[in-house]
């Protein structure tokens, strides 16, 4: 093949074509020789190496090596040292157009544009094996939101964050909020052990770890992922690491956190710390990379009121009265198979909820199918499966998938859905997506709705990283 290409070029090519063909051959052909002359050094990576753009004199090399070697016992730290503690700022944004195509009770009939995520990352290699990462999401919320728990039949006015801008003659401006997606510090002791503390994404499955819209193949999260049968974030500590045995990598995560709660990001309202454990195995073979993982989460949700009281002697005390308590255990399994341009991924998640205290067991609402009383313990399950193939043109990736969600909870119908679309990545930092989703409720229906018993919707999204 190289000879054929070369002959073609020799006979028909111009100088420009020759250069291009030669370059292409050098990239793709395993046995083609390189051009004999050393290539001139192109511009260095922007944040990679401050010395790369300054030539290769002995003094510069010595200076760089000295900087790399100084004040550090490990080369990892030395490399961080040479960067002189630079903050690494980056992020992603997505812009979506969504339209409901049918009459469905739980989706707005009005097509809309929205900025869904505007996330900013602040990362830093702190040196000596220490690394930090914070990610915040800027949002227009809470403006326009209805308070949670509002009677949907009689909603109060929307939350209005309008303020009067002193920098603009007091004209109205609507402020938004910031969601702290994660903020952690970690220390790598060994490939087998990194210890991380702070707020982190729960290391389960695929979707929750992929996390950002430029990475996620589709537009909408599968329902079983969006419903957070395992918490998406946790605050606490975790240890993780991996071991490479031949072409197989075995990884683990062990976490201890506040678990789930009304204010779990900054306060645990019980003494039961939640435990997360994950084990994954990844293997490279001629049929691609296959990763199989399993995650266990066990924790207790507790909500309390906090008040002060006086005892008989007139001393102040604080009372913590539990208003909601449930124990949960979730199991998640995931599979990802990547074979060249083909991807198959799926997750199965199961969550058991048990109310251990009858005095705070939630009341059930009466409906056509549920009598007055108290909620039973329940098990929710769900899964999704997604297949995608990236075509050689414009990095177009058709994808198709399906899901099933069985919450087995009051006022939530079991449902199935199928979806499919295109994920196009014209350049590495820009992803354009189009997705069609169709869902339907499963019998027995817990409550009837006006209109169709499922959603038909189309989503168009542009997401980009910066």
């Amino acid at each position: 093949m190289p000879e054929l290409k070369a002959s073609f070029v020799i006979v028909f090519g111009s100088a420009t074509l020759l250069t291009l063909a030669g370059s292409a051959l050098a990239q793709t052909d395993a046995i083609a020789p390189l051009p004999p002359a050393p290539a001139p050094a192109p511009a260095p990576a922007p944040a990679a190496d401050p010395a790369a753009s300054t030539g290769s004199s002995d003094a510069e090399a010595e200076a760089l090596a000295a900087a790399l070697s100084s004040s550090s016992d490990s080369t990892a730290a030395a490399v961080a040292d040479v960067e002189e503690f630079k903050l690494n700022l980056y992020g992603f944004t997505d812009f979506t157009y969504t339209a409901t195509l049918n009459d469905f009770a739980f989706a707005s009939p009005y097509p809309t544009f929205l900025i869904g995520n505007f996330n900013l990352y602040v990362g830093a290699e702190l040196g000596h094996g220490w690394r930090s990462l914070s990610e915040v999401r800027f949002t227009y919320l809470p403006n326009g939101n209805y308070p949670r728990g509002t009677d949907p039949a009689n909603p109060p006015p929307r939350q209005d964050t309008t303020a009067y801008d002193p920098a603009d003659l007091g004209r109205p401006v609507k402020w938004g909020g910031v969601v702290i997606e994660r903020a952690w510090l970690e220390y790598t002791v060994h490939p087998l052990l990194t210890i991380q503390g702070g707020s982190w994404l729960t290391p389960y499955g695929i979707w929750n770890v992929d996390h950002g819209s430029p990475v996620i193949i589709g537009v909408r999260r599968p329902f079983v992922v969006g419903e957070e049968l395992l918490p998406a974030h946790q605050t606490g500590i975790q240890a993780y690491g991996s071991y490479l045995a031949g072409r197989t990598e075995i990884g683990y995560h062990l976490g201890l956190s506040n678990g789930r709660g009304p204010i779990d990001t900054y306060a645990d309202l019980d003494k039961n710390k939640a435990v997360t454990a994950r084990l994954s195995v990844s293997n490279d073979s001629p049929i691609g990379n296959i990763t199989v993982g399993g995650t266990l989460y066990r924790g207790r949700f507790t909500d309390r009121t906090q008040g002060y009281y006086l005892d008989a002697l007139g001393n102040y005390g604080t009372s913590y009265i539990a208003t909601a308590v449930y124990d949960e255990m979730a199991l998640a399994a995931d599979l990802r198979w990547v074979w060249e341009d083909f991807t198959l991924q799926g997750e199965f998640i199961q969550r058991d909820v048990v109310y251990p205290r009858e005095d705070v067991r939630p009341a059930a609402f009466a409906s056509a199918t549920v009598a007055n009383g108290f909620l039973a313990d329940f098990r929710s399950t769900g899964w999704y499966l997604l297949a995608a193939y990236r075509l050689p043109w414009w990095n177009i990736m058709p994808f198709f998938g399906g899901e099933s969600y069985h919450p087995n909870q009051e006022f939530i119908n079991n449902a199935n859905a199928i979806w499919g679309g295109l994920n196009i990545r014209p350049i590495p930092r820009v992803v354009l997506k189009a997705q069609y989703t169709q869902s339907w409720f499963l019998d027995p229906i817990q409550f009837a709705t006006i209109g169709e018993r499922g959603l038909k919707a189309i989503d168009l999204q542009a997401s980009w990283s910066f």
Binding site: V9, I10, L18, A32, L34
Partner: protein, 161 residues
Amino acid sequence: MTSRREFLRLSASAAFTLGFPLGTASAQAQTLALVVAKNSPIQQLSQYELKKLYLGANINDPSGERIIAFNQAPNSPDRVAFEQRVLGMSSEEVSRYWIDRKIRGESGAPKAVGSVELLQRVVSKLEHSVAYVRADQVRPEVRIVAIDGSVPGDSGYRLYA
């Protein structure tokens, strides 16, 4: 119409550009070598370890220290060839890989050093680091380590550009 002289000139240019083994151009010139400091404890790596290392995995050397990988400049011919041969990715796929990895919150790409000479000087000072250069550009202050038990020149050596 192209004259015979012009045809020959273009032919020579094509052969040069495509890297035909003109004259005594040796197999060494077609080969990428993995280099480490003279005093490095690293004696060899498997191609799979090399792939994992350059994809961001933590790999330790025999002394227990984490191996630091250095890259050549983005889009340099050697780097493009290395990524194709070792990582099995095009430059664009590599870009996508690192963008996605950072959004997941994982560590970034290996540091790049623009000059092959400087790159080797840096590696020579860091006993737990590795880099790849053409075999005929290997400098005396570094040494070549085996990949899957083979070094450039061995019949089983597979790291060609």
